[in-house]
């Protein structure tokens, strides 16, 4: 590694995290801390029915008895759960505005700045967006068109009131409340997130997307998303996230549940760009996320694609329970860590149904003093005969102070299943840089090109509208050349 490569890498993105601005808006928050009263406050703010409050309180009581998960390769000070605001909404926000005229112009401006315009005449073509600001959903675009097809796309708070039968049936059905401490926490205090229901045999004609923004200080965001694809349906969903630059760490503990019935397919993509902290490791989001999907029906398919560039800590394992016969689970991941970022991310593929197939492609890029761990489990249960998994984990190291770790767990309880595992670790190649530079590309462009090439297998899985954005994000995470 020559000195210039190291220099290029040192000029990292954090100073120029372009989503680091704060929207100057008065917010309404209850007192800090977690207790039954806060949960009742959240539930009443959302005008939830009694059964929902009880569900939350049950989760809270489980949470009280649980300990933080310890197995991940991450280090952070003990979280003081009493020093966090659990709810924050723009002042005077009583219920979701019926139209954009009722939305505070400052909020609209925030989303414009983030590149997610919500105004009718500017909305992104082919993408319906649900915009979540701190703890509340402020707007959802393309609602009318989706309604015509019977597709439900709304905030989870709305769904609890309008579609209680679906919520009662599916909420917590994939991630049990007491799965671990963060899932219990989320179940107790979740604020907003998206709800999607695709009726039988409907192919959702546009991308559905939620954009999460944490604005308020010392506030946790507890997003809850539930997507149900009924028989023979298809949906592609994308989630994006950013937060202002702050010196203190903020907690984001999300639960995302997916349910695919017979012959249904869900494609779930994430571009995660939470504030990663500064170059000394101060501040940044703790991203403790539980994402799990169940391929419940025959021939169903769930595909997770994630591009993880932000957060001080990423702790996240989007998983698939492959219950249906011939069901398919996929996980495509790019995780880039820089400075003092820590990522422990991967997936779990649990094969229950026979002939189920899974595929894992993970690309980890470590820069600076960061630590990047792939942790993945593949389980074949007794009846999952003739199932298959293919796993490929590649790590790229830039500089000599970072770490890359690959920790696969494999378990099979039948003898007809096949697993293939490939792993590689490499350093960025000076000869490749030389070649690119000899063709006139500068050092930064060359690094970005090579790293984008390294990630391509994953980036090409993203919906087209976002693939270009993601490529740029990868470059920015490396270079610090934000325009």
């Amino acid at each position: 590694m020559n000195s210039q490569t190291i220099q290029t890498i040192k000029e990292t993105d954090t100073k120029k995290y372009k989503y680091g601005f704060v929207t100057d808006i008065e917010s309404e928050k209850p007192k800090k801390g977690l207790n039954e009263n806060i949960i009742k406050y959240i539930s009443s703010k959302k005008k939830e029915p009694r059964w929902m409050l009880e569900w939350r309180l049950k989760a809270y009581n489980k949470w009280l008895k649980m300990k933080d998960p310890k197995w991940a390769n991450i280090k952070f000070p003990k979280i003081n759960y009493q020093d966090i605001y659990y709810y924050s909404a723009p002042k005077g926000f009583e219920k979701k505005p019926k139209n954009l005229n009722e939305v505070d112009p400052k909020i609209l401006e925030t989303y414009n700045k983030l590149g997610i315009p919500l105004e009718e005449q500017k909305i992104l073509a082919g993408v319906a967006v649900d915009a979540v600001f701190d703890s509340v959903s402020v707007a959802t675009t393309y609602k009318g068109e989706l309604d015509k097809l019977g597709i439900i796309f709304c905030s989870i708070s709305e769904a609890i009131i309008q579609h209680p039968e679906l919520i009662k049936k599916y909420l917590g059905s994939v991630i049990p409340q007491a799965d671990h401490k963060f899932s219990a926490l989320n179940s107790a205090v979740f604020t907003d997130g998206s709800f999607v229901y695709i009726p039988e045999n409907v192919k959702c004609p546009m991308e559905l997307s939620t954009y999460f923004r944490i604005n308020s200080e010392e506030t946790g965001q507890f997003e809850r998303t539930l997507i149900i694809a009924d028989k023979g349906s298809y949906v592609s969903y994308l989630e994006g996230c950013t937060a202002p630059k702050r010196d203190t760490n903020q907690l984001h503990a999300a639960n995302v549940e997916l349910v695919a019935l017979d012959n249904a397919e869900i494609k779930y993509s994430t571009v995660q760009n939470w504030y990663p902290g500064d170059e000394n490791g101060k501040g940044g989001i703790y991203n403790f996320v539980t994402k799990r999907g169940i391929c419940k029906g025959i021939n169903s398919k769930i595909s997770w694609t994630q591009v993880e560039t932000g957060s001080a800590i990423t702790w996240k394992y989007p998983s698939c329970i492959l219950k249906g016969e011939n069901s398919i689970g996929e996980f495509y991941s790019v995780a880039i860590t820089n400075n003092f970022q820590q990522a422990d991310t991967g997936t779990k593929m649990i094969h229950i149904g026979k002939n189920s197939k899974s595929k894992i492609i993970s690309k980890g890029i470590s820069i600076g003093k960061s630590q990047n761990t792939y942790r993945g489990a593949v389980n074949f249960l007794k009846n999952a005969i003739k199932s298959r998994n293919y796993t490929q984990c590649d790590s790229l190291l830039i500089g000599d102070q970072c770490g890359a770790h690959t920790i696969p767990y494999i378990e099979s309880k039948n003898n007809s299943s096949i697993i293939e595992h490939e792993a590689s670790t490499s350093k960025i190649n000076e000869e490749q840089l030389y070649y690119c530079r000899q063709r006139g590309l500068n050092h930064e462009e060359a690094v970005s090109l090579i790293v984008n090439g390294f990630c391509k297998q994953v980036l090409q899985e993203l919906p087209m509208e976002f693939a270009v954005e993601a490529q740029k994000l990868v470059s920015i995470s490396l270079e610090g050349s934000v325009g």
Partner: protein, 245 residues
């Protein structure tokens, strides 16, 4: 002088590789440098391109009246120096078309010209590929990945024809080429050669020079030129090898 090297001495890890090396190249000329293995030929090519692992002890290189040592690799490339590599490296996941377009655009930007758009570039690329007899299917693949030796060299020629450099250096480009690939390379050079560019062709064998007509042939040994002549020198080397130099 268009391009000149004067008394250049270069070492790697304390070992002297080039030893008071000098050469002058005018616009429109083709120079061939021949020499046995270990004579410093590849070092010469890399030092001109600006590769950073070499230590320049003394001497100078000027290109279009500028001191080349003031510029890094990409700046030299943008000013018109092109090195066709002996072993072009694979860049997985990076497709030829966008790679070459960024490459051309950085050069255009350097010269204060507008960047070329995707459609125009795609037309240009197809046209150049057709002229050089390169299958357009190749343009859909990642840079050098899984290419045969011949394909890699063809691709170097294609890049050269797109970038239109003023000084083209060929570092042992003929190694590992079959007759057909060799023809593509030599036809390419002959096609691209004009009165505004110059070629420095570094080779161990005479095979490449059967199809190209160099204006000067130099024999290099122990880090410097020991003899300069015309084409007839090539057949002399062919007969007696390098032992007489």
């Amino acid at each position: 002088m268009f391009f000149s090297i004067k008394d250049l001495s270069v070492s790697v890890d304390g070992k002297k590789i080039l030893n008071n090396f000098s050469i002058e190249i005018k616009k429109g000329e083709i120079h061939a440098i021949m020499g046995p293995n270990g004579s410093g030929k590849s070092t010469l090519a890399n030092v001109i391109a600006g590769k950073e692992e070499y230590k320049v002890e003394s001497g100078e290189i000027t290109f279009k009246q500028k001191n080349l040592f003031d510029f890094n690799i990409e700046e030299r490339a943008k000013q018109g120096i092109f090195l066709a590599f002996q072993y072009p490296i694979e860049i997985p996941g990076v497709n030829i078309t966008p790679f070459l377009r960024s490459s051309l655009n950085s050069k255009l930007k350097h010269n204060n010209n507008d960047e070329i758009d995707n459609i125009k570039f795609s037309d240009l690329l197809r046209q150049k590929a057709a002229e050089l007899g390169i299958d357009i299917e190749m343009l859909k693949r990642p840079v050098n990945v899984g290419f045969s030796g011949g394909e890699k060299k063809k691709y170097e020629i294609l890049q050269m024809s797109i970038l239109n450099p003023e000084l083209c250096i060929f570092d042992e480009t003929d190694s590992g080429l079959d007759i057909d690939a060799l023809k593509i390379v030599t036809n390419g050079i002959n096609k691209l050669k004009n009165s505004n560019n110059s070629f420095l062709i570094i080779t161990h064998y005479q095979k490449l020079l059967d199809h190209i007509k160099p204006d000067y042939v130099h024999v290099m040994r122990d880090g410097l030129i020991v003899k300069t002549g015309n084409r007839s020198l090539v057949s002399e080397i062919e007969k007696t090898g390098y032992k007489n130099f």
